[in-house]
Structures are given as C-alpha cells and as structure tokens.
Point group: C2
Chain length 207, copies 2
DNA sequence: GTCTATAGGGAGATAGAC
DNA sequence: GTCTATCTCCCTATAGAC
C-alpha cells in the first residue's frame, strides 16, 4: 500500500480527518502554528484566522483549545503507526526492518506530517494529564514495533546496547532532526540521513 | 578542578550568579518552574512566589520576564562549557574524551543543572530572535569541543558517520533522557547510561 | 529592595442573530 | 456553521509609598 492509500483507508475508518474537510484543514493549520509559535503563544484567534473564520466559530468544532491540540496528536500517532507497520512489512531482515523504521520516522518528522510530529514532542507538557494518558496508550502500540526489531538485532549480536535504551536515544535523535535538517538546502537527502543514522549505529551503508 | 571549584571561579568572574544570592536563587527557581510548566505557563507571580516576594518586586531585578529566561540560558551554557572543558582535559584518547563528554552532558542534563539544560532545549522558541542570536554565539564554543573529538575518531576510522550529524543526533538523544531517565528509581546509573550510549555508537564498555 | 495598587491589554470561551 | 458582540479572567509591567 502506498502512503496515500494508507491515509485514505484511515479516513474511511474515521480514524483521521480528511485534510480537505473543515476539521482536517483546521488540524493541519493548528499543527503548523503550534510548531511555529508553540501552543501557548498560538491564540484561538490565530487558529481561526488561519482557516478564514472568526474565533467564536472555532468552538462549534472543538469545545476547548486543548481539544485541538489533543486531536492533532491523536491523529498523528494513528497515521504514523499505520505508516510504520506498512514500512516494516516490506522489509525482511531485522537490519532492513530497522532501516525501514528509521527511514519512516525521519519521513514523518521531516515530511508532510512533520509539523504534527514536532508538536507531539515539543508541546507534550501543554496537554492535560488526562489527555496525556489517552495519547500514551496509542503510543505503546507504536513503540512495540521498534522494540521487536531492536530485540531481534540484539539477539543476533549486532546491537551492543539495550533495545529500550536505544529506542529512547533514537526517539530523541530523530525528533531533534526537525530543528536542524533542511533537505531543501541540498547536502543530505532523506536516504542519506537514514544511512548516517544506520552508520552511527554500526551498520555501514550497502550501496 | 572539581565541579564545585569550577562553579566558584565562574562566580568570582561574575559569569554566573551565586546560587545563594537573590539573583541566583531566582534563576534556580525559574529554571525549575520553566522546566516543569513551560515558560509561557509560568507567570511572574509564580516566579515571585517561589522566592517569597511579590510580583512587582521582580522587576527591580529584571526588566522583563524574557530577560529571566535569557539569563537562565546564558548562565547554563557558561557553566556547562567550563564543565565540558574540564571533563575533556582529564581524558587522553579520543574515545576517552568522547566518553567524558557524553558523561558530562548526561550529568548536566540529569543532575543539578538539569532543569536549566532542559529549559535551553525546550523553551528555545520562547526566546526573542535577538536573544537567540546572543545565546547561539556562546553555544558555538561548546559545540566545537564535540566536533574536535568526533573528528578525531572519524580519522581513526572508529566512527562511520559524519561528525556533525553524530553530534546533532547525540544532542537530541542526550537531551531526550531528561524525559525518561530516572536514576533514583534504580536500574541504570549515570555511568551505566554512559556505557549504553557508547555501546550504541559501537564502543563496548571496558570493565 | 520590597510593598500595595492598578493600569492596560489580550486571552479563552459564550450567546444569540442570521 | 458562521457571524458579531461581549463576558470574565488573568497576564505583564508600572508607579509611588515605605
């Protein structure tokens, strides 16, 4: 399945909003603004203006501003879990699966859903404790994918560190790329960056 | 020089505030609150209450709230640059120097200055563009230390990836530990965590 | 150097017309 | 489903007394 087909099927199941609809467009703009200015500095007036309505009208779609933040995060995790699963299925060996996961996460962070992924990392504290608990449940599915693959590499003796530590280090390292990686400025492509991450972990690029 | 001696000499040079003085205590509380609730959600009333004064009195010490954020960041970088330099001087080989840097940065992030280090990472966007430029200058000195060591390892053929990419990955990975690493809960000591990071990079622990 | 009091501005959210 | 109008609250920062 292509990335677009995955998105379409999630929309059909009502797990993520159609980016063409009113709700989907708002969430997309919200992700952009939250990433750019931070959740707190983004006002409901900013959000409304970004989709061309008045601030009062927002509250027809969402009860509170925080509900918007939560929706951005929930839909992002749902989409990316599906993308990761698809990326892994195409790979055969644990090493190839790891590469697929790294590549897919870098793509999530630096591609179309990058703004929402950055929000997930940097605006976490702005989410209420209750909402955090809900979102964490979804995250566990996603993390299990990684731990399986890293565990297999560890069993093969090709990974010297503990899988759960490596996963947490990679979470930080890959998320952080959003602050510095600029593919459009030339230099490093997404595949090149993936090669660098694999090389850092001791897996030389196979040309 | 011990860590405490380094701190004392920076205080003597007026490069960081004495934690016992009024300014130093405020900055320490500010770091704690900014880390806990975020800069935007922390009010000047919160800051004042944390040191037992009224909000209006704060503005006798700092002209604006943002000036407090900037001071937290500047003093943190100054202290940590000095700590890193000292940590490196004690090591001989590039590998040992890398370990010393990793250990020192993990200690900065998870030790006494951890709150301020986390603020540096997570509240960056809350700093005005002008202040960001000032702080970035200080950061360059700090980063050069890392690139020298990673470059030496690369020359030795013991590092497969590009030094500047590895440094950025490590910045993310090590900063991220602040969100999950809890030494007091047992399990992993700071040295153990350092070993894990080194192992991840392909340098087995030497017992 | 700290206090009290308050100015001045925006913030999130609501109500009811269309 | 969007508009206008507005409520209420709380934020940063200032002023002047002590």
């Amino acid at each position: 399945m292509s990335q677009n087909q995955i998105l379409q099927s999630l929309i059909a199941e009502n797990l993520v909003s159609d980016p063409k609809g009113a709700r989907g467009r708002l969430l997309k703009e919200a992700a952009r603004l939250f990433r750019e200015k931070g959740y707190e500095r983004t006002t409901v007036r900013d959000l409304a203006a970004a989709v061309g309505i008045q601030s009062g009208s927002l509250f027809h779609h969402f009860r509170t501003k925080e509900e918007i933040l939560k929706a951005v995060m929930v839909e992002t995790i749902r989409l990316n879990t599906a993308l990761m699963q698809a990326a892994m299925e195409a790979a055969e060996t644990p090493k190839d699966k790891l590469r697929a996961l790294v590549r897919a996460e870098l793509e999530s962070i630096n591609g179309q859903t990058g703004e929402a992924m950055a929000v997930l990392v940097f605006e976490w504290r702005s989410l209420s404790a209750d909402s955090q608990a809900d979102v964490l449940e979804l995250r566990d599915i996603y993390e299990a994918l990684w731990l399986d693959v890293l565990g297999a590499l560890r069993d093969q003796g090709r990974l010297l560190a503990e899988p759960f530590v490596v996963r947490r280090m990679l979470t930080g390292a890959l998320s952080w790329t959003v602050t510095w990686y600029r593919p459009e400025r030339g230099g490093l492509t997404l595949d090149g960056l993936t090669d660098q991450v694999m090389a850092m972990l001791g897996f030389p690029a196979t040309p």
